[in-house]
């Protein structure tokens, strides 16, 4: 572990950090004489400056692609890693754990995914939980309760003990089987893949949902119950499925999985698209779209992409 730095070393580190950023920010106009003056004025200053140079060299020795992939990985914060270790016993056989007196923390966890990330967990009771891109839930297994904070969750119950899913617009009680809940822009959608569930919206009577049924609900209450197309939930298998879908609709869906900005011309909206696209590489999806629909993809950076109709050559 590191030793506690002295106040002088602390001050020097802060000042060195400022000099470094000033140097990088100012570029050619940087006053290097002033820097030299600062370095000469104290041994602490010079030591901090030398340490900063060593720091930069350490990074310089790492190939950018490997370094970024590793150090900028979907960084579970340490807290999240710990929670994962404690909260969700993916590594522990559930039969072993069941029936033992476990500390509360083992049954509770905050789980989340970043944009473009999908993740699944096996819970201590054997149920499975899958989070789609940019999603977060708070899980309290002891209370049989899950709160959907944002995004989309798929839940498959292992037994027949109900579990409730709290959303901002109502409470869903999953009796058994498998459900998907999606929360976006003031609207929540629950789909029952198999088994059954009960929805108590904020307003209006509660509804029973059976296999193959879906309902949207908002602050004002629930809409009509209807059948749904299971292809819409292809994300659970890592694919985005479109069946003769307007392109605008497809792109809005796709942009959920991409960090940054994805924009397109209005003229693209009505084009139709059909296909199954693997979500693990959304750049590739854009390339495929461009090829099959004659679009141009303008990437200012990976995070700023604009799609336009390809201009016809005269």
């Amino acid at each position: 572990m590191s030793s506690t730095p002295s106040p002088e070393a602390r001050e020097a580190a802060r000042a060195a950090a400022r000099w470094l950023t000033r140097m990088e920010f100012d570029g050619d106009t940087f006053d290097s004489a002033a820097l030299q003056c600062w370095r000469d004025s104290s041994a602490h200053h010079e030591a901090a400056w030398q340490k900063a140079q060593r720091l930069r060299q350490r990074f310089a020795g790492v190939p950018a692609s490997l370094g970024m992939a590793t150090l900028d990985r979907q960084a579970l914060t340490r807290r999240a890693v710990l929670k994962r270790a404690l909260g969700v016993a993916a590594l522990v056989p559930s039969a072993w754990l069941l029936g033992r007196a476990l500390p509360l923390e083992v049954w509770r966890a905050d789980l989340h995914t970043a944009t473009g990330e999908q993740r699944s967990w096996t819970l201590v009771d054997g149920s499975t939980l899958q989070l789609n891109t940019d999603s977060a839930v708070d899980l309290d297994l002891k209370a049989r309760r899950l709160e959907l904070v944002r995004g989309e969750v798929a839940l498959r119950l292992a037994g027949s003990t109900p579990l409730s899913v709290q959303s901002p617009y109502g409470l869903i009680t999953v009796n058994r089987g498998e459900v998907c809940v999606y929360l976006a822009d003031g609207d929540c959608r629950v789909s029952v893949l198999n088994g059954s569930a009960q929805l108590q919206p904020l307003r209006g009577p509660s509804l029973s949902l059976e296999e193959g049924q879906q309902v949207n609900f908002q602050a004002s209450g629930a809409g009509p119950v209807r059948a749904f197309d299971v292809a819409q939930l292809g994300w659970r298998d890592g694919v985005l499925v479109a069946q003769d879908q307007p392109l605008g609709h497809f792109l809005r869906e796709l942009s959920r999985y991409r960090p940054g900005v994805l924009r397109w011309d209005d003229s693209l909206e009505p084009l139709r698209i059909t296909g199954s696209f693997r979500l693990d590489n959304t750049d590739r999806i854009l390339t495929l779209l461009a090829a099959s629909l004659s679009l141009d993809v303008h990437m200012r950076t990976r995070y700023w992409v604009t799609l336009t109709l390809r201009k016809k050559l005269a």
């Binding site: 590191s2 802060r14 950090a17 720091l55 490997l66 370094g67 992939a69 590793t70 404690l86 995070y303």
Partner: protein, 169 residues
């Protein structure tokens, strides 16, 4: 110096004897693996030995051991998570660009050290810093990618530099 057992050693032995297997059991339940749990048990006691906490007046020894054990467990998973990301990244490199086996391990060690160095930085600060150090991006490009102002990037960078300079490496 001599064979006399110091009070610290004595209480460490007592701590180990009374709570060692309990701690290992706790770790094993979480890790599902006896070997890793045994290793972490040893590591936990090494940390106790290295710490300045006076063992004689430890009120709740198990709570204290758990605090250290949890931290080590967390590090263990962070490390495993990093290794996995590294192996995935290696696998996706074209054959010609892949480093030699020795380089691979050296690089992994460097990456682990850097990961620890950056631990505790907010995600955006960390990302801005990595873009700057690894990809050589300027503040303007970073600002564009993160959709923040250049001033903010400058602040992020200062925060990251200061953080790193305060860690022993």
């Amino acid at each position: 110096m001599c064979d006399a057992v110091t009070p610290t050693e004595q209480s460490l032995h007592a701590l180990y004897r009374d709570h060692g297997s309990w701690l290992e059991g706790w770790l094993r339940r979480r890790m599902g693996n006896a070997w890793d749990a045994a290793d972490l048990r040893q590591d936990t006691f090494l940390r106790v030995l290295a710490s300045s906490q006076s063992l004689a007046d430890l009120q709740e020894p198990r709570a204290y051991l758990l605090t250290i054990g949890k931290r080590l467990l967390s590090n263990f998973y962070t490390r495993r998570n990093l290794e996995q990301a590294y192996l995935d990244a290696l696998a996706s490199l074209p054959e010609a660009c892949a480093p030699s086996p020795e380089q691979r391990w050296l690089l992994l060690e460097t990456l682990q050290a850097l990961d620890e160095l950056l631990d505790g930085l907010p995600p955006l600060v960390r990302r801005a810093f990595l873009w700057s150090q690894l990809e050589g991006l300027g503040y303007r490009e970073i600002a564009e990618r993160l959709q923040v102002s250049e001033r903010t990037v400058k602040r992020y960078m200062a925060q990251a530099y200061e953080h790193c300079l305060l860690v022993d490496f």
